[in-house]
């Protein structure tokens, strides 16, 4: 049943005040032949108890696994205070802060967020979020093409080590504006793009997209790539994992001049996995580019009495002012997740975030070490990595995954599906949420999975087929 407060008496009094007979009269301007006559094929209303029972059952179906999946969405510990605060009605149920005076809480928070993201990426300015990491990249590409006045090219170079879903998303969005993404192939030894490969690309492009760590967890030689791009007149777009930035060189310091734009997925900063969203995309850039930036930006200013205050600024870039001439169509963004990220970053601070990065990386190394002791397992790439790694197997990974799943472990992302060119490989991520005991358990399970009789013995033990 709906959430309306109206009593019968209310309705009667209100109809009377309007001067109509009944509710139907309020819809008199709608042509009768358009009105719904049949009952909607929608289930009957459930009360809160019933819907709670329903959703608990549904949620249970998906629960109970230990996950080693990463590939752009990372399970980190989120301090309890984060969502206790995010859930406060004042954050949860506010609209976009168009009335600045009644939204100083949210606005100041975004200003703090912008400061944190700019500093984390080593750039000068930040917007207030975009839909997700992949969309942030799409917008960054549009922005770079607009901004690179010197280049007339509609081509953008994209390293082959970019997250495949980022690439397709960027393609979906930018191809309609006739932008062409040109992929620079990776080196299958190192797992990254080697500088030498770039030589064959002329300066016929507006920008270069570098993901660090790349989709495989490998680290690109960002300084060299950035310098090359700048020498060719390309702008550099960095796609980065914010957790890694507590440890890895910030885009603003890549090469001689630094990347021009940084973007990425904010999810690791206090946002739960939640089946893929809502997350948020972040976007920062050099100050000279701010007028090409999409999305909202909060500025600090003063009120009539000279008191500090915060407000949305540079709105002339946005659709509600510029309409067809706006820098982007984005309106609703991912504000609430920015609240989560800002509180998360405040709780962790520079040292806390670094420890998350180091601990995750450390645990991944522990797992790799253990796995390498098993027969038929190899590390796919030689480049240094951060907290995520590609492992190759002799046995088909689909079988391995399915066995591990019956043991309650989601052992990794099957690259046979996502990046077939990598061969029979798993992309595996460990974060600080996994204990040494978990990792040892994973190795034991994997050992069994790799043994010849894993499937059969499992069936005997559990009376269950593999749940694939």
């Amino acid at each position: 049943m709906s959430f309306v407060p109206h009593t019968k008496t209310d309705i009667k009094a209100m109809l009377q005040a309007i001067g109509v007979e009944d509710l139907q009269a309020l819809f008199a301007e709608i042509p009768d032949n358009l009105k719904i006559t049949n009952e909607l094929q929608v289930p009957a209303a459930l009360n809160e108890l019933e819907v709670s029972q329903l959703m608990s059952e549904r949620a249970k179906l998906d629960a109970g696994y230990q996950s080693y999946l990463g590939a752009g969405a990372y399970e980190h510990h989120i301090p309890a205070a984060v969502w206790e605060l995010v859930s406060r009605g004042e954050f949860y149920t506010a609209y976009t802060p168009y009335q600045a005076e009644a939204s100083q809480g949210g606005l100041q928070l975004i200003y703090e967020y912008q400061t944190m993201m700019a500093s984390l990426t080593g750039l000068e300015v930040s917007n207030a979020s975009l839909y997700d990491g992949a969309n942030a990249l799409a917008e960054a590409i549009l922005m770079a093409v607009r901004a690179n006045k010197k280049s007339k090219s509609n081509k953008v170079l994209v390293l082959g080590s970019l997250h495949p879903f980022y690439k397709t998303t960027a393609q979906t969005v930018t191809s309609l504006q006739n932008i062409e993404l040109v992929e620079v192939p990776i080196d299958f030894e190192s797992g990254r793009v080697e500088l030498a490969k770039l030589a064959q690309y002329t300066n016929e492009a507006a920008a270069l997209v570098i993901q660090q760590p790349n989709f495989f967890g490998c680290l690109e030689t960002v300084d060299e790539l950035t310098d090359w791009a700048h020498q060719q007149g390309l702008l550099v777009i960095a796609v980065v994992n914010p957790t890694s930035l507590a440890l890895l060189k910030e885009p603003g310091r890549w090469g001689q001049l630094g990347a021009d734009i940084a973007c990425g997925e904010g999810q690791p900063l206090g946002v739960p996995l939640s089946s893929g969203g809502p997350y948020f995309g972040f976007l920062t850039c050099k100050k000279v580019l701010i007028r090409e930036m999409p999305g909202r930006i909060v500025g600090r200013t003063v009120d009539q009495e000279g008191k500090q205050g915060f407000t949305l600024t540079l709105q002339a870039r946005e659709q509600h002012i510029r309409r067809a001439k706006a820098k982007s169509n984005v309106c609703t963004n991912q504000g609430l997740l920015v609240v989560a990220a800002t509180i998360y970053m405040s709780l962790l601070g520079p040292e806390g975030l670094k420890r998350v990065a180091l601990a995750s990386h450390h645990q991944t190394k522990q797992l790799v070490e253990g796995l390498l002791k098993l027969p038929g397992v190899k590390q796919a790439f030689q480049a240094p990595f951060f907290h995520e790694v590609v492992m190759k197997f002799e046995k088909p990974v689909a079988e391995i995954l399915s066995y591990c799943q019956t043991e309650g472990i989601l052992a990794g992302v099957n690259l046979n599906v996502l990046k077939p060119e990598c061969g029979n490989a798993l992309l595996i991520c460990v974060t600080e949420t996994k204990t040494m005991a978990d990792i040892e358990h994973y190795i034991q399970v994997m050992k069994h999975a790799l043994s010849d009789h894993s499937q059969r013995s499992k069936i005997v033990e559990n009376g269950l087929g593999a749940k694939v």
Partner: protein, 481 residues
């Protein structure tokens, strides 16, 4: 005070800190960071107190009447929040195997079905993350449709002048040129102008109905006929769906594609600017072009239908599959209001708007479309008052804040001068509406007797009126102190 001003070097929220690890010696030094990022160094209590107190400086639905036109600020059920945060959903990785995702997938599948049903469409894709992205996806489908038919000449999209800014912006992002269609004095679109604008170059038209003027476009059927005859398709901007839920369906009006704003119609929270969710639903013609992935069902199993099996799809709109947690909340809301509740939403939203409109008119406020029925929202114009006392729509907006009421949408749609677009929504009570009328009358009184009071409002907020010009001129978007 900024959180950075509470920071002290070396301070830590210790209980949250992981045990220290030695440096990552396997990573080459030239790839490592050498500077300390400017994150606050604070205690847990400092953080909790800072953001608790910041939150108190926000208006919100939970605290205030929020009649922000076009934004549908209705009650966001707490049950939806709680249930979408159940562990099975919250810790579910987007790339989990389908066999470990049946709970989540079944909800999304049913949501797709329900959304198609309430709009009279054939199929739904849930991936767009807000209304504007839904628009983009929808227009991309229209483009793909024409292209698939080899109809490359259609380069133009028609958009009424009353449309939301995202409409033209989205059309342009899809590579289209935008042609504005004027609105008549009665609030309906000028059919004659439409006829003239239509042609072989027309890819389609983008419409809201009811329009952002708060009136129902009466000749919609005729318009649909005209556009279709000209070879174009019709896009429905679902922002105003709240007005017609369970009453009329865009599919029945002749629309080919639409987006939802689940964060409006289906009561998911706005979160201070997002997240939203902008699923798209399509009629028969556009089914092959739906964004991927969407949820399919076969042999008792829910699964993601990907690009690989939908070769004509316009593609992927994000790294994963949309704002899943928002979709869950909308699903829960729809299951709670159910079949019975859909029309009740539209009925009471419309009743509330018409009641407010009648009462304000009676109190001497000028309606923008006095001859029309309100839908779920309506417009008043203060241009007379602006002329007489120099008190503008903005001044009213700011003064309302002093009374604890969030301002309606102002200066939108652009064609009505000094306008307030007022949308009370169905979850507000008659008492709350009566109070709004009272306060509006009070401000009108103030505008006459003490215009300065209104012009310098707000007086009771954490800050007085802010200097937007300075904000843009002396850009300060990052704390450097």
């Amino acid at each position: 005070m900024l959180i950075f001003e509470k920071s002290q070097p070396g301070r830590q929220a210790k209980a949250i800190y992981l045990k220290a690890q030695s440096a990552a010696t396997d990573i080459p030094a030239n790839l490592l960071r050498t500077t300390k990022p400017k994150l606050p160094e604070t205690s847990e209590l400092q953080v909790v107190r800072h953001y608790t107190n910041l939150s108190k400086k926000n208006f919100s639905i939970d605290g205030n009447f929020y009649p922000l036109g076009s934004c549908t600020m209705k009650y966001n059920p707490r049950a939806a929040h709680r249930l979408a945060m159940l562990e099975g959903f919250l810790h579910h990785h987007p790339l989990s195997p389908e066999s470990a995702s049946q709970g989540f997938l079944s909800c999304l599948y049913e949501l797709q079905q329900m959304l198609a049903e309430v709009t009279g469409m054939k199929a739904t894709s849930l991936t767009p993350m807000a209304g504007a992205q839904g628009e983009f996806a929808g227009m991309a489908m229209i483009r793909a449709y024409h292209q698939a038919r080899g109809d490359a000449a259609r380069t133009e999209v028609l958009i009424p002048d009353a449309a939301h800014g995202t409409n033209p912006a989205s059309a342009v992002m899809c590579g289209y040129e935008v042609k504005e269609i004027p609105t008549k004095a009665d609030g309906d679109i000028d059919l004659e102008a439409l006829k003239i604008a239509l042609g072989p170059q027309t890819a389609g038209i983008m419409l809201t109905n009811p329009s952002t003027l708060g009136v129902f476009e009466r000749s919609i059927k005729e318009m649909a006929r005209l556009v279709h005859e000209a070879g174009g398709l019709l896009y429905y901007d679902g922002a105003n769906l709240n007005a017609i839920l369970g009453k009329v369906r865009p599919g029945d009006m002749g629309f080919d594609v639409l987006h939802f704003n689940l964060h409006k119609t289906f009561a998911t929270p706005h979160g201070g600017g997002g997240p939203g969710a902008g699923p798209v639903a399509v009629g028969k013609r556009l089914v092959p072009f739906l964004p991927t992935p969407f949820v399919a069902y076969e042999n008792g199993r829910y699964y993601w239908s990907e690009q690989s099996t939908n070769l004509q799809s316009v593609g992927r709109f994000g790294a994963f599959m949309g704002n899943a947690g928002v979709l869950l909340r909308a699903y829960i809301y729809m299951r709670m209001i159910g079949k019975e509740g859909m029309a009740e939403v539209a009925n009471m939203a419309t009743l509330n708007a018409n009641y407010l409109q009648a009462k304000l008119a009676k109190a001497g406020f000028k309606l923008a479309y006095p001859e029309r029925q309100a839908t779920h929202e309506f417009i008043i114009t203060l241009s007379d008052q602006a002329k007489a006392f120099g008190v503008t729509a903005k001044d009213y907006a700011k003064r309302l804040l002093d009374y604890g009421i969030h301002a309606p949408t102002i200066y939108f749609p652009l064609l009505v001068p000094e306008c307030l677009l007022i949308e009370p929504t169905e979850t507000e009570s008659k008492e709350e509406l009566d109070r709004f009328v009272e306060v509006m009358c009070q401000i009108k009184q103030e505008a006459q007797t003490n215009p300065e009071l209104v012009k310098t409002a707000p007086h009771t907020m954490p800050v007085r009126r802010l200097d937007d010009v300075k904000a843009a001129k002396d850009l300060d978007v990052v704390f450097l102190g």
